[in-house]
Amino acid sequence: MVDYELLKKIVEAPGVSGYEFLGVRDVVIEAFKPYVDEIRVDKLGNVIAHKKGDGPKVMLAAHMDQIGLMVTHIEKNGFLRVAPIGGVDPRTLIAQRFKVWIDKDKFIYGVGGSVPPHIQKPEDRKKAPDWDQVFIDIGAESKEEAEEMGVRIGTIITWDGRLERLGKHRLVSIAFDDRIAVYTLVETARKLSETNADIYFVATVQEEVGLRGARTSAFGIDPDYGFAIDVTIAADVPGTPEHKQVTQLGKGTAIKIMDRSVICHPTIVRWMEELAKKYEIPYQWDILLGGGTDAGAIHLNKAGVLTGAISVPSRYIHSNAEVVDERDVDASVELMVKVLEHIHELEI
């Protein structure tokens, strides 16, 4: 069972790549505080929470940035033109509500406007909108009015999303990528009992624009072992054959073998599997041909780092309605706890 109140705070706080200070950073610091010895924020904004030990130095990373939009132009009639920060699909903007972040803790609403089908040609209705066509309507009638409302070039926009339960075991929210992993990291810190590992829990910044926070925080920490926690694709939906589903909801945590950014260390992969088997933690495999994770940056730090990763399977990622299964979240926390409790036994 997830701690719904904590999860809600973590997923609903704003923090687009490079703008994690708008909200999520403070939530994360507050959440880690009871379970670690020291917390610091570095020059890129990474939150580095240190639980001291005299065993191997381990870095665990989950990225706290989310994809979003940036205002690039304000039209003279008050509409906002936007560009994506991270991999936003313009089709996911139409008919959505947005929060336009005027300042920390201060937003106005906007909507993703579109041309009504009634006045479109039949052939145009079949076309997906692209970035030249989409715009955000904040109710302003002029550029001046939009500026009076506090909108500037560079203003950050997120979907207006929230956490809800879906069925018996499932949850839907904005930004499960990768806040469900940030939550997993906090829960791991909370449940950890016996370990001598020197642990750095890192809520990284700017993963969605190139694994940038993980790169600098790994340099500073210089870990012996690195683990990334991220979401992976669960395409267990109608129309997708089983061999293309990657993972399935409710089938456990996904131990990463590889993605576009990393080939996880085979010994670590096997060892994680043994731990999952020993403690009867449900698991599945994660082999992703598109997309990367912080593990990609961590394993290349300095002279190289022994790196593994787990993923929480998620449907509909990079949308305002990402879906995860809380049993997979629980399994992910359990496996990470066991990894940390046994890491001193690992011989490579």
């Binding site: 790549s17 490079g18 703008y19 994690e20 200070f21 924020v41 570095d42 020059k43 890129l44 904004g45 990474n46 939009l69 940036m70 205002v71 690039t72 132009h73 560009a83 994506p84 920060i85 030249d132 500037r152 070039i153 560079g154 700017q206 624009v209 190139g210 940038r212 926070g213 790169r215 600098t216 925080s217 340099f219 500073g220």
Partner: protein
């Protein structure tokens, strides 16, 4: 005021990416050496000029490399076949002169074109590509070209063509990034009292992947990094996507690549000295040295200071001297005013 004589010297000095030693490196050293405490060249060829101070440690970089061409084949008729170094658009090469650097000295070549009389109407509508670009150096055979000093690996640039259009506007190849390099040099030369420990870097190999700035920032380990690079100004055909305008002042980006505190500080400095400042949205890591500087070691608080130009990566890059002047001022005052500050975003 812009010193057009020095500007032109900086813009025209040779230095394709990786071949900065052909000219620009000495120009930079000569222009800076009497104005800094220490100057050195690192193993990649970066010029690192140190103006000693206390805190914060800042690296300010303008890249000194240029896009250009490299010979990859000399055919039996003496024509040179070339590949691009950096982002050269082959369409800009047709009917242009190029300046070639051989061990025997400099020479010129031209890129020919097929007369419209000999082409079919539909062929005339197609853009040229690398397969059809050849450089004619006046040789009739491979042997003759080789005697002139040309080899596989010989590099070349767009021929100099500095043109004053009006009192303030001028066009030239290679304002990217020599216009910013010039501005950085002037800021260093005019620098007065400062608390910051300042490293001026004329970086190499930016156009082939931000390579010089990568190693220079590792060596310097700065707290703050500022890249000075050109950016796009509004021009015909931009589809309304460009917000920055020529003549309206220097430009500073906002976005994930930019530390908001450094950006806000620069804005205050601009206000204090009455310098116009434009904003450019950068939702992705920028295509400047600030991109690689930001992820150096444990992370660097980065910003980008830009001079807007039209027609980027062509032989007629066009800038406004007032923007250059204001950029020099902003760089100088920013460096002078900088004090130790909290850099957490």
């Amino acid at each position: 005021m812009v010193d057009f004589e020095l500007l032109r010297k900086v813009v025209e000095a040779p230095g394709v990416s990786g071949y900065e030693f052909l000219g620009i490196r000495d120009v930079v050293i000569e222009a800076l050496k009497d104005h800094v405490d220490e100057i050195k060249i690192d193993k990649l060829g970066n010029v690192i000029a140190h103006k000693k101070g206390d805190k914060p440690r800042i690296m300010i970089a303008a890249h000194m490399d240029k896009i250009g061409l490299m010979v990859n084949h000399i055919d039996k008729n003496g024509y040179l076949h070339v590949v691009p170094i950096g982002g050269v658009d082959p369409r800009t090469l047709v009917a242009q002169r190029v300046r070639i650097f051989t061990e025997k000295g400099e020479l010129y070549g031209v890129v020919g074109h097929i007369p419209p009389h000999l082409t079919k109407p539909e062929e005339r509508k197609k853009a040229v590509d690398w397969d059809t670009i050849v450089v004619d150096v006046g040789a009739d055979s491979k042997e003759e070209a080789e005697k002139m000093g040309i080899k596989v690996g010989t590099v070349m640039e767009f021929a100099p063509a500095f043109t004053r259009l009006t009192e303030n506007r001028f066009a030239s190849p290679y304002l990217d990034d020599r216009i910013c390099l010039y501005a950085m040099i002037e800021a260093a030369r005019n620098l007065e009292n400062h608390e910051a420990d300042i490293y001026f870097v004329a970086s190499v190999q930016e156009e082939v992947g931000l390579r010089g700035a990568r190693v220079a920032s590792y060596a310097i380990d700065p707290e703050i990094g500022i890249a000075m690079d050109v950016t796009f100004a509004k021009q015909p055909g931009d589809k309304g996507k460009i917000v920055v305008e020529l003549g309206k002042g220097p430009v500073m980006d906002v976005g994930p690549n930019i530390n908001p505190k450094v950006r806000a500080f620069a804005e205050e400095v601009a206000k204090k000295y009455d310098i116009p400042l434009q904003v450019e949205p950068s939702p992705r890591p920028t295509g400047t040295d600030a991109n690689i500087m930001q992820i150096n070691r444990e992370g660097v608080a980065t910003a980008v200071l830009s001079i807007p130009i039209k027609y980027m990566h062509s032989q007629v890059e066009l800038a406004d001297a007032r923007d250059v002047d204001n950029t020099i001022k902003l760089a100088k005052y920013l460096l002078e005013e900088l004090k130790p500050m909290d850099l957490v975003p």
